[in-house]
Symmetry: C2
Subunit: 337 residues, 2 copies
């Protein structure tokens, strides 16, 4: 009986301690991050900028954090999701304009020849983007993207593209927001495309998505109601230097923290880091061939067209920013693992 009571008491203490550990784990907002320089840099940045009385305290209204999307928040290999969308829309565009069927690059896309499609140049892809991302109202486009992205699946994981966001980055978005930061997406991808799902997938509202943007044209529909038609005219090329320019245009404040993964993010990271006071610039290195992909010379691999991460970028990153190694810094890559 005495022993029994001691056992009960010991079990109780054990359960209690287990509960405390559980709570501690549950309370770690960055639970999918391994302890290391990357996680430490994030926690330290948040502490120093949000603790009242800290010499590097940042007022709430100036807490702006910007995130690249492709390769930073979700998978970008082997093909950008938006390129898949554009290719899938080609038949509908050709149906509306049959003369395109015999013209390149539309002819190649319609052939279904995967190798030939893989050889399309950037110029070809821009032509396809212009044709497939215009000629409809902004509202119809949004509805079309919403439908497409709910239906399509990635070929490797057999899951919707929107499942392929990185869990550690989702935790980081939430952690920053809980610390009073406004989180923005600043993407080279299409602003209207990303806005169609960003609120559901990342908790980021349309007005906090900055991306490459085509012009729209105000007019009246057949029912006499005003509408905005998407035009085949690029207003903002939100990539490379365009990211810093896009941030100024759309936000009007220099970010306190920025996150990227390729040369297209270099200027955003430099611009962020050049501000006074505490600034955080981080870059994701795709060095995990097993759980995701490994690419770029920095990972000791050949460069790819997508998510270029050169040795020069890696050198700058190691010196000026904080590198996030997918392989070493992330306990889990996806929430479904």
């Amino acid at each position: 009986m005495h022993l029994h009571r001691r056992l009960v008491a010991a079990s109780f203490v054990f359960v209690l301690l287990a509960g405390v550990a559980e709570t501690a784990r549950a309370q770690d907002p960055l639970a999918s991050w391994n302890d290391g320089a990357a996680k430490k840099a994030i926690v330290e940045f948040v502490r120093t900028t949000t603790t009242t009385g800290s010499p590097q305290f940042v007022p709430a209204e100036e807490r702006i954090a910007t995130f690249d999307q492709d390769g930073t928040l979700w998978v970008e290999h082997p093909v950008y999701t938006q390129v898949m969308y554009c290719l899938d829309r080609v038949p509908a565009v050709v149906k509306a304009k049959p003369e395109l069927a015999s013209q390149e690059p539309f002819k190649t896309v319609l052939s279904g020849d995967r190798e030939a499609i893989g050889r399309l140049t950037e110029e070809d892809l821009v032509k396809i983007a212009m044709a497939t991302l215009s000629g409809m109202s902004a509202e119809d486009f949004r509805a079309d993207v919403t439908k497409w992205i709910a239906a399509m699946k990635d070929s490797r994981w057999k899951r919707p593209y929107t499942d392929l966001t990185y869990l550690p980055m989702q935790e980081l978005l939430k952690y920053l927001r809980a610390s009073g930061y406004k989180t923005y997406i600043v993407t080279g991808g299409g602003q209207d495309f990303v806005r169609a799902y960003a609120e559901r997938v990342y908790g980021i509202p349309p007005e906090q998505v900055v991306g490459s943007a085509g012009a729209t044209k105000f007019g009246y529909g057949k029912d006499g109601k005003p509408l905005l038609m998407k035009e085949p005219k690029l207003m903002l090329n939100d990539n490379g230097p365009g990211k810093a320019e896009g941030i100024h245009l759309m936000i009007g404040r220099r970010p306190r923290a920025a996150f990227g993964n390729s040369t297209g993010d270099r200027e955003m990271l430099e611009y962020t880091k050049a501000g006074d006071g505490a600034r955080l610039a981080m870059i994701v290195l795709h060095d995990d061939a097993k759980r995701e992909y490994a690419y770029g010379p920095a990972a000791g691999l050949p460069d790819t067209k997508i998510g270029t991460f050169t040795q020069a970028l890696y050198d700058e990153a190691k010196k000026e920013w904080v590198v996030i190694s997918m392989k070493n810094d992330w306990k889990k890559v996806f929430s479904f693992e």
Copy 2:
């Protein structure tokens, strides 16, 4: 003694009642509005869109309200404040580029001949705007506007321009924000110009100011630090149809409520009103020559270049929107009255 006690009691009741009345006044968020159709429309719109269970309830994230600035939030007559700024900057621009001194329209501006300056065409003003709003970094520009606007005074009221905001509209901004609405400025004026003071003057942060925007160019300064130079190239003409297009570009949601005062706001008001559910579109009529200005055919006066309010606009407004009469709907125009 008895009488004295009654008097004391009566005084006490009087003071108490006065206090209650005072509190009621203080608690009316639209205290500077007279009771009437305009005030009623605002209060009813807020009630119906923010009361849980209301058939026209609007979720918090969709509560977007957009405001024109010149003539809607502050005085636009006799000259837009930003035009004054541009004219004042001409000497500095000519100092940097002396060859402009002998070229029009700069020559006329430098002459100081007020009548000749008053006859400058819109094309002239665009040339002046391009020259005076570019050629410096975005940060230097902001500092310059901040300094200028603190120093300059309006010629009629002898007060800083930023004192000339309309008290009833300031109350409306606060009332909407207290009701969960995000308030935006959507101005035909320069985005960077308005952003320099909007947070201080209207409580509206830079990222919620949409305006006509010039391009910037990312580069590195003499110290090697990244900077954004303002270019003489218009990216977004945020006026007329451009206001609806600018809202799509910068916000990505159709507003629930919009406020304007001229033909430049027509498309924004139409676009807002065409959405489903409860929508509020209001237009300020400048019909108060005594306390502010009266202009436009709708006020029975000749049309002016600034704040055009035609009979056609008035007809559309009376049918589709709610007209705010400065004269009848506003108890006070300015806070300093």
